[in-house]
């Protein structure tokens, strides 16, 4: 039997042939708290039309179950206590907070989280939730249910969980109660890496001094993990090393549900929401990176033009596990064309749904527009405060850049291609 000192850790590997960081079969990607909370808020705002909370919680349960089941199968002989330790450690390393699973058994129980990413950052960004709202830790609630099933070798869907305490509602910590599901629920297996692409590493562009491969090596080599509180503070934001399949599932399940209910109008509503989430991500994550001490130390010394800022942030994106971004055309102040290989959105969509009638890489679409708005509409080189007012200035002005996905793997094209211009 393994002792606690010899439990192999849940380690991951960055695969350069597809720019993916994979841990026990699950691709993990960096996203900041701004995107996480805004995306959750966007889904929750449909609650009067859809039963959206199962989407938010069940998606987490499915993915956590898959990852930890894979792990426990690969490391046989661990006791329940050791398995709990593995889960708690991973929760913190990924930046989700601190979770205590001592009171959980095969029939459920109570899990407490003295710190938790969504509830902590929700308070920072939006303040307290109302008495009528659920707690904010919807992802973590589903995570605990799925992880508990894996710990005790219960089948997926055997357990369900609900959050009964949350700092956003005045409590000191998050508390989740896990119990056997009263109704049979059909939860789905994880798509793992989905339909991904392998490629040769990006050839260094000749029109910039930004060293793409060196930046990728430097950033993927950084030990970015939760601190003592299980949260990741880096690049000026609160990061998570989160599940690509969680983002894909909640986004595309929302899309399909709204399409089923409202047809094309529903699709368009969700497209706008998800692209706007991409704008929020770009503004805060990309903006935060470009104003960070890390950028100042690693990338600023290579910059000799405004266009190098575009290359620099694209080089950073290629370390986030989002696939490979490549600038195909950059016309200063006018146009940016980016191709993405093995983007996590397309990988997951194609695996789950096959062919699409419309473009589906909404995060990238918002992100590409965001790069141009930060660098050529606003001026990130002057390190402005990334406030709501500044967001409105760069993203809602009449002079803003907008992006479109002009080619889409899920629609049968060879690549995902995006173009940002002023429209």
């Amino acid at each position: 039997m393994n002792t606690t000192q010899t439990i192999p850790s849940l380690t991951g590997e960055f695969h350069k042939n597809r720019n993916a960081f994979v841990v026990q079969g699950e691709p993990l990607i960096f996203h900041c708290h701004h995107y996480n909370t805004f995306l959750q808020l966007s889904l929750e705002e449909t609650k009067h039309y859809l039963d959206v909370y199962p989407i938010l919680q069940d998606s987490a349960q499915e993915i956590a179950y898959a990852q930890f089941s894979n792990y426990f199968e690969s490391v046989p002989g661990l006791s329940a206590a050791e398995r709990k330790q593995v889960v708690s450690q991973a929760f913190s390393e990924f930046g989700f907070g601190i979770v205590r699973l001592d009171e959980l058994s095969s029939q459920g129980g109570t899990a407490v989280m003295p710190t938790e990413h969504y509830s902590a950052t929700w308070m920072l960004k939006y303040g307290p939730r109302t008495a009528y709202d659920r707690g904010a830790a919807l992802f973590a609630t589903g995570f605990v249910a799925g992880a508990t099933e894996a710990i005790f070798d219960r089948p997926l869907g055997y357990l369900e969980a609900r959050q009964i305490e949350c700092p956003t509602k005045g409590h000191s910590q998050c508390t989740v109660v896990v119990s056997p599901s009263l109704n049979k629920r059909s939860l789905e297996a994880s798509p793992a890496e989905g339909v991904y692409e392998e490629f040769t590493p990006l050839v260094q562009p000749q029109d910039t001094g930004i060293r793409y491969e060196a930046i990728q090596n430097a950033l993927t080599g950084m030990p970015i993990a939760g601190g003592q509180d299980g949260l990741i503070q880096a690049f000026g934001v609160t990061l998570t090393r989160h599940y690509a399949n969680y983002y894909a599932r909640i986004s595309y399940r929302l899309l399909k549900a709204m399409e089923a209910k409202f047809g094309t109008d529903g699709v368009n509503i969700v497209k706008d929401l998800l692209v706007e989430a991409g704008h929020v991500c770009a503004f805060n994550t990309f903006g935060g990176i470009m104003e960070s001490a890390e950028w100042n130390a690693l990338i600023q010394p290579m910059i000799s033009s405004r266009e190098d800022w575009v290359h620099g942030i694209v080089a950073c994106v290629n370390a986030l596990g989002w696939g490979q971004w490549e600038i195909k055309e950059l016309v200063p102040y006018q146009k940016l064309v980016i191709e993405v290989k093995s983007g996590y959105e397309a990988n997951a969509y194609i695996q789950a749904f096959g062919q699409s009638e419309y473009p589906v890489s909404f995060l990238v679409t918002g992100g590409v527009a965001g790069i141009m708005n930060l660098i050529y509409n606003g001026d990130i080189t002057e390190t402005p405060e990334l406030s709501e007012a500044y967001y409105d200035h760069v993203f809602k002005s009449s002079d803003k850049f907008s992006a479109q996905q002009t080619q889409c793997r899920a629609m049968g094209d060879q690549v995902d291609r995006f173009e940002a211009t002023k429209r």
Binding site: L124, K125, R211, A214, I215, N217, A218, G221, M222, Q228, Q233, G236, S292, A293, E294, N296, A297, L298, I299, P301, M302, T383, E385, L386
Partner: protein, 108 residues
């Protein structure tokens, strides 16, 4: 931008529960800086120079006790400070330490 003989306060970010300042210092961050601020905690060095020759290794010093994090490129002049609260006395304390370090560096 606040300018003094000891440093320039180049940027202030006033977030909901904390503040961030970017200072431009008259001396580069070096071993004397690490020694002076060692009371805050152990330095963490991210070796960016091994990947990019022109880069600066990144220095980070974090104190949960004081609620301060310092970060900046070694041999660079920019210092990024995150204050964990909106308490002005924390800012005054840190800036006083910066003045002391600058003064000592000038006399050494």
């Amino acid at each position: 931008m606040a300018i003094s003989q000891f440093f320039e306060l180049r940027e202030i970010k006033d977030c909901r529960k904390y503040r961030k300042h970017i200072y431009c210092l008259p001396q580069v961050l070096d071993a004397s800086f690490i020694a002076h601020f060692s009371f805050l905690g152990s330095p963490k060095i991210t070796p960016f120079r091994q990947f990019v020759a022109d880069a600066h290794d990144l220095l980070t010093i974090r104190s949960d006790t004081f609620g301060i994090e310092l970060a900046g490129g070694l041999s660079g002049n920019d210092l990024f400070v995150t204050f964990g609260s909106k308490d002005q006395s924390l800012v005054d304390f840190l800036e006083d330490e910066l003045r002391q370090w600058v003064t000592q560096s000038r006399t050494n």
